[in-house]
């Protein structure tokens, strides 16, 4: 088995690509096959990614040479603890969203089922490609594959989504172009594109202005992709008007994988030594803090639930960026190094995935978009609403949910870095989270629906439940329960060996 796992990184990408083509052809013959092929592929990929993670943790990193060409000339796929972790997260949420979309897409886009799943598999191909590749130009190509699929999927609903998709396309292309320009600058200095090779060749040039410019282009380009404030302007519309599972993927995975690309560039291509030469990570801390506050305040002003969740994503990217900014100064386990940032990548995927899928369920059943229309929903759709509430209290940060763990560790890290301002920001953001999520929960449970009979007995009798089908409820509940289970696992330090390996790989060894 061990030798077979060596081939899994490339298989994860290729199988997904082939399944996109298979879905397209099989869809001509029988369109009902599309979602089953997609789900089967994703189950296979997910199991494969678990094997990769196990192999990386027990044996060591996997190096795969495409076509047998030796690096730095050939393209190399490198999987270490960081990629393996992100790969598992992204394939897990990808699988959940594919299961959810079976019912939802038949309802929302009945005539586009085949093309939806084709492009969905291309999206997964691109995301897997970004994570496994060890070649920076290859990463650029995969980023573009991901984003092109995302543009098409966002636009699939038509109308206002077209405009949202177009805005994302223009900004995303500019971001990708900046990334390409950064690659060009690094290539001009070193003559190499392989990430491992670059990390060896770059140190003598750390003072070089071209290298500094390259780093800035990488940061700005990827900040657009990961919707870091003030470059988030494409995000709210794209998230609000895409189909529910695509909103969940966009918010939970696509911007997170861009963050992964950011970590890879900052820590693998460059090194923590380079990052300490510049005040860049202090600036990131402040940008993260501003994103948290502004994102939360804008979320409060929204009347559309999905737009509110989208602004909450802006705030959550702020958490991740703040945690990243603190990563080179906080060094005490378990909150030092990259731990809080990597934790929040998983935690945000779980929470926001659950919230967006629940919001999609409201739209599926009753075409409810506005928060004010949610009156009495707690009685009508009790299971979906309960899952929504679990994810929402997790966002607010009630122990022992995942949101609590992330926030706690970010606060502890900022105390250790002696930046107490960020402690205040985190506490304030929890309050703001409470404000905008409580508004939704209050409308769901406390307010009566209009025209409803006021006498309590007849009120109870008249409520008829309108739950979504099991195929949609199950994914929502898996994510909601994981919001709590993962929180306990984090606190029990179960998955920390993975994160410790990432930290020691980047020379961020921690004090116990």
């Amino acid at each position: 088995m061990s030798s077979a796992v060596q081939h899994f990184p490339v298989l994860v990408v290729v199988v997904s690509l082939l399944s996109a083509i298979t879905i397209f052809i099989a869809g001509w013959i029988n369109r009902k096959t599309a979602c089953y092929i997609s789900i089967a592929t994703l189950i296979g990929q997910f199991i494969g990614s678990l094997f990769i993670l196990h192999h990386v943790m027990t044996v060591g990193p996997i190096y795969y040479r495409l076509g047998g060409w030796a690096p730095p000339w050939g393209i190399e796929y490198v999987v270490d603890a960081l990629n393996a972790y992100v790969l598992v997260v992204l394939l897990f949420l990808g699988l959940i969203c594919a299961i959810y979309s079976k019912k939802n897409i038949e309802h929302e886009l009945p005539r586009k089922v085949v093309s939806f799943y084709t492009i969905y598999q291309l999206l997964i191909t691109g995301l897997c490609g970004i994570t496994v590749t060890g070649d920076i130009f290859n990463m650029y190509v995969f980023i573009e594959i991901t984003c092109l699929s995302a543009y098409a999927l966002i636009a699939s609903r038509g109308k206002i989504a077209l405009k949202a998709s177009f805005t994302y396309l223009v900004l995303g292309s500019i971001g990708a172009c900046f990334f390409l320009l950064g690659i060009g600058f690094l290539y001009a200095v070193t003559g190499s594109l392989n990430i491992r090779d670059l990390s060896l060749l770059l140190p003598p040039f750390y003072g070089n202005r071209v290298v500094l410019a390259a780093f800035v282009f990488f940061i700005v380009g990827l900040s657009i992709k990961m919707a870091l404030f003030p470059l988030h302007t494409w995000l709210p519309d794209a998230h609000a008007f895409a189909p529910a599972e695509i909103s969940a993927m966009l918010s939970g995975i696509i911007i997170e994988v861009s963050t992964y690309a950011f970590i890879r560039v900052a820590f693998s291509v460059f090194t923590p030594r380079f990052l300490r030469l510049l005040p860049i990570f202090d600036i990131l801390c402040w940008l993260g803090a501003v994103a948290i506050i502004i994102g939360s305040i804008l979320a409060i002003t929204q009347v559309n639930l999905k737009r509110m969740l989208a602004y909450s994503s802006v705030a959550n990217m702020g958490y991740i960026v703040l945690a990243l900014g603190l990563s080179i100064s906080a060094r005490t386990a378990p909150w030092g190094g990259l731990n809080p940032a990597l934790m929040h990548i998983l935690n945000h995927a779980l929470m926001k995935g659950c919230l967006f899928l629940a919001a999609g369920a409201f739209i599926y059943k009753a075409d409810l978009w506005y928060i004010k229309d949610f009156q009495g929903l707690g009685k009508k759709m009790p299971y979906t609403c309960a899952a929504f509430v679990i994810a929402a209290i997790s966002m607010i940060g009630v122990p022992p949910s995942v949101g609590f763990v992330s926030k706690l560790y970010i606060i502890l890290a900022s105390i250790e870095a002696r930046k107490f301002f960020f402690v205040a920001v985190m506490l304030l953001s929890s309050l703001l989270n409470l404000v905008y999520f409580w508004r939704v929960i209050e409308t769901m449970y406390m307010k009566r629906a209009e025209g409803e009979n006021h006498s309590r007995a007849s009120h109870e009798a008249h409520v008829h439940r309108e739950e979504v089908p099991l195929g949609m409820l199950l994914p929502i509940w898996v994510l909601a329960s994981l919001c709590i289970i993962m929180g306990i696992l984090w606190l029990a330090n179960v998955p920390t060996p993975i994160l410790n390996q990432v930290n020691s790989m980047f020379g961020l060894d921690m004090r116990p």
Binding site: E144, A155, I160, C177, L181, G184
Partner: protein
């Protein structure tokens, strides 16, 4: 004057690429027409391609087709790698343009216009506030 020659003329390819990039950027930001925005985006991308291609140029270099004659006579040849990278990037750029144009066609069907400001005026569904 010497400074001028050393900074501007000797490195004119970089100046041209920055100039083109900014022209494209201006098009993206300032134009209201979506097709013009796409053209701006294309200029922006092409400027970066030109930078890469000029990076691979070698003075007096021939095409990078290495055979025995080239090696025997000691010819220099252009670095082929940036060109290959840009072939890939051109494909990406074409795909982006194709998606963008198809989005514009759909928007024209929905709203009957391709001016951004008019589309914003006409779209007011699902709690959209443009601020």
């Amino acid at each position: 004057m010497e400074w001028f020659i050393a900074k501007i003329f000797a490195k004119y390819n970089y100046w041209v690429f920055i100039l083109l990039m900014m022209i494209g950027f201006y098009g993206i930001v300032a134009k209201d027409n979506l097709i013009k925005k796409i053209i701006g985006l294309n200029i922006f991308q092409t400027a970066i391609f030109l930078y890469f291609i000029s990076l691979g140029a070698v003075k007096g270099g021939t095409a990078p087709i290495v055979n025995e004659e080239i090696i025997r006579k000691g010819y220099v040849y252009a670095n082929p790698l940036p060109h290959v990278l840009i072939l890939t990037a051109i494909v990406v750029s074409v795909a982006t343009t194709a998606v963008a144009l198809s989005l514009v066609i759909r928007m024209h069907q929905e709203y009957g216009t391709i001016e951004e400001s008019e589309i914003i005026e006409k779209s007011s569904d699902k709690g959209r506030t443009w601020t």
